[in-house]
Subunit: 253 residues, 2 copies
Amino acid sequence: MEQGHASLYRRIADDLKAEINAGTYAAGDALPSESELAQRYGASRGTIRQAFAALRTDGIISSRRGARRTVHGGPRLQDFTALLSFSHWARAIGEVPSGRVIDLERRAATEQERGHLDLPDGAYVYLLTRVRLLDGQPVMVERTAYPDRIGALVAGMRPERESITDRLGELGTTFADAEHTIDAVRATAEDARLLGVRPGTALLRERRRSTDPAGVPLEWSEDRYLGDQVAFTVRNSVDHNTLSRWHSPPTAD
Amino acid sequence: MEQGHASLYRRIADDLKAEINAGTYAAGDALPSESELAQRYGASRGTIRQAFAALRTDGIISSRRGARRTVHGGPRLQDFTALLSFSHWARAIGEVPSGRVIDLERRAATEQERGHLDLPDGAYVYLLTRVRLLDGQPVMVERTAYPDRIGALVAGMRPERESITDRLGELGTTFADAEHTIDAVRATAEDARLLGVRPGTALLRERRRSTDPAGVPLEWSEDRYLGDQVAFTVRNSVDHNTLSRWHSPPTAD
DNA sequence: GAGTGGTCTAGACCACTTG
DNA sequence: AAGTGGTCTAGACCACTCT
């Protein structure tokens, strides 16, 4: 699921996720008790509880006092990077991602961009416009603004061939936090042309601001999805919430 | 924030939320350290960490090893009920909610409804159609299916005057979990008539399945929001996600 | 009544940030 | 170097579910 910074509770959580994904525990099934897992892993109860909390965070399980934890049905988990990176998401749902760069330019940031990226007057940004495809079909137009420092790195990449998020990670820039705003808009003439639909088609718009661990903005993006192709799902309970992006085939209800 | 089942960590968390909402700690500010709070409340460090975990769950703070926790900027927290109940949400954002019942009928459930509500063949459902308004302006059409047992209770209510969620709670039916799917659709002729817009307008569609603590479905709803009036926001990080519904005034960007 | 998860304590060591 | 959050242990009591 993840690679190994490997605290014990993370490894236990990943083991459980793997078993759930493999069908060892199906939707509605009861999971092992805390005490059983504590024994199996030679860990204390607190560590086991931490592992379960991680699964709860991903919206995979539910729990009530007195009864065993059970596996949730419905849409499967998607981790943080699947929400941030189109490439990760596509691979997670078993589709082949691709993309086409429409434009990449560097120019002075607008007031709005400076606001979202915490930039001073006169700062520059890189603007990347891409069409994203799943299995060869366009599903999304992405318009991303990067601060100068990040954009300079992005400009040296080949976005058709590699994930920008992954590449930035290799270069030491880590995405840690993101805020998404989701609403509906009609396709502009340009949107329509890029997506191959008629102007006025209902699009799902996601505006996203991503930051590093210290809260420094790394990107500000506006993505427009075909409304009949992509949806977001959220599972929430009295003390938890999870979001995942979802792809519904054209035949769905 | 909540009333008092009142475990210690919940009370601490609520105190912190209140201080944040009151402006004692503003966006970007550092929060008290674990040790300071442990002393102040006479609690152990673990309990303080539980309280902070609850704030993390609401997406209102961030934390990194070595540095103090800080308050997040951006959209303010909305608790679980604000996502479930239009009335709660409206009050949380300081607007006056109202509604108009378009239709309430009881009939045999469709196959789709039986699927979403885990009902057997031949089961009946109540179907409630409402238009929801903020400050007198229509912003949403809500079409909700209730299982017979719940619907019978709903049928005896006055939805114009009281929150169905609240009233069901008083009658002992607790909402504990919900799954939301969000996408974009065009307004049908009926949508358009009810919302006072032109057919084809882009609408934000939320489909919601809510369950009780044991996982028994309580409602299946399809809500359609005006795309330029309402948005959903999500904050997520490497190990956490939060969703909130958001209302953008017509003048917003 | 046995088992289970929810809450809480008191301690420990470590990785990291900050002055 | 001091302070802070991240991880982990070993115990305790309680509320609740299940059969």
